[in-house]
């Protein structure tokens, strides 16, 4: 009897550290959960200066590793070529005259990050605003800014898992809804009779301008009543180094505005972004002649 009672007392003492640990866990978890739910931006502002250095360091490490791969080539030449390519890319990104934009470097890509988002190295101090559209190349919109911190911002992509966007598909010429699947892919879901083809161009009217991507694969079984088309951007997310960010936040658009955007994107299909100096137009030919004459005159003097 006495032995049984002493055994029961020992068991009671053994469980009390676990109860303390449970209470401690609950006291940490509940306030953090409430803070995330009610004031997510506040905790994000605390997290930003801790997480951003990790992302920047990883980006620099990748760049230095890719430079080290060039073992037989002069590193200065490699760096010069990289800077030239970056300069050209920046000119393309910021060359549009329709809207002022801010160039930003990509320091985190969806395939490497939690939640399949893009992280850029510009934030509130650089003029980035929440809900601003994000572009690659001249007019290819890929998403919008969903969180802004001091020196970095988080961009939600059209392909962020679960996110829905209205798209227009050229070819069948239909409006439909694309649902993000992650990893740079969105999926459209249409009835079997719609003629989806690989290569059909896709536009996202709510992202203001430009072609988003193309249908890269189709999942269609004739016996099923529906089919799926997978939309991919024209470029790989892993090759994204620079983006441009609009200065005005996106706003919801009506159907008439969506039709206008679709029509303008259709006209833009015939245009190609030709670098400066290569595209010859009437105005640029005469200005080139004038500058050449001026140079000659200067040399004679």
């Amino acid at each position: 009897m006495k032995r049984f009672l002493s055994t029961k007392t020992t068991n009671r003492h053994r469980t009390s550290p676990e109860k303390h640990e449970l209470v401690l866990l609950g006291s940490i978890f509940l306030p953090l959960f409430l803070l995330l739910w009610l004031f997510p931006g506040l905790l994000g502002q605390i997290a930003a200066p801790i997480i951003k250095p990790f992302l920047s360091a990883e980006t620099k490490l990748r760049q230095s590793l890719s430079n080290q791969d060039q073992t037989d080539v002069n590193l200065e030449t490699v760096e010069l070529e990289r800077l030239k390519a970056e300069n050209t890319e920046l000119r393309t990104l910021l060359g549009g005259e329709s809207e002022a934009r801010i160039a930003a470097g990509v320091i985190g890509r969806p395939t490497n990050l939690p939640y399949d988002v893009l992280v850029i190295d510009k934030g509130e101090r650089d003029g980035i605003v929440k809900d601003a559209p994000v572009y690659v190349n001249d007019n290819q919109a890929i998403g919008f800014v969903v969180a802004v911190y001091g020196e970095s911002s988080v961009v939600a992509l059209v392909t962020t898992p679960g996110w829905r966007s209205t798209v227009y598909i050229y070819g069948p010429n239909i409006y439909t809804t694309a649902v993000g699947q992650g990893g740079g892919i969105a999926r459209v879901h249409t009835p079997q009779g719609i003629k989806l083809e690989e290569g059909n161009i896709v536009v996202v009217p709510s992202l203001s301008a430009g072609i988003y991507g193309r249908i890269s694969a189709i999942d269609s079984i004739p016996s099923r009543t529906e089919q799926y088309g997978y939309v991919a951007m024209n470029m790989s997310l892993n090759s994204l180094h620079l983006v441009s960010v609009g200065t005005r936040p996106l706003s919801t658009i009506d159907f008439e505005t969506a039709k206008t955007v679709v029509n303008e994107a259709a006209r833009a299909l015939l245009e190609v972004s030709v670098p400066e100096g290569i595209l010859i137009e009437a105005e640029s030919a005469s200005s080139t002649a004038t500058s050449t004459t001026a140079a000659t005159t200067t040399e004679v003097q």
Partner: protein, 78 residues
């Protein structure tokens, strides 16, 4: 010191690789130590990256990992 190094390694792995790769390491870390700091780190990740989601998956997962490892720890010799 070793615990701190493991923690930093876990943070790097969870940020830059798949969460399914970080999960067994987090389980091992939680079995080895009592680790409420995992919840705090997960909350920071949810706060920074998780603006696209309504549910803080990393925080909930960290809490569950610690709770489960607390109860299975008594059956495992560490």
């Amino acid at each position: 010191m070793i615990r701190f190094i493991f923690l930093i390694s876990l943070v790097v792995i969870v940020i830059f690789t798949s969460p399914f790769l970080a999960l067994p390491l987090a389980v091992w870390y939680s079995l080895r130590y009592f680790a409420p700091e995992l919840i705090f780190i997960a909350a920071l990740l949810d706060a920074y990256f998780g603006a696209v989601s309504t549910i803080p998956y990393y925080t909930l997962s960290a809490f569950l990992v610690i709770i489960v490892t607390m109860f299975i720890k008594r059956y495992i010799m560490i």
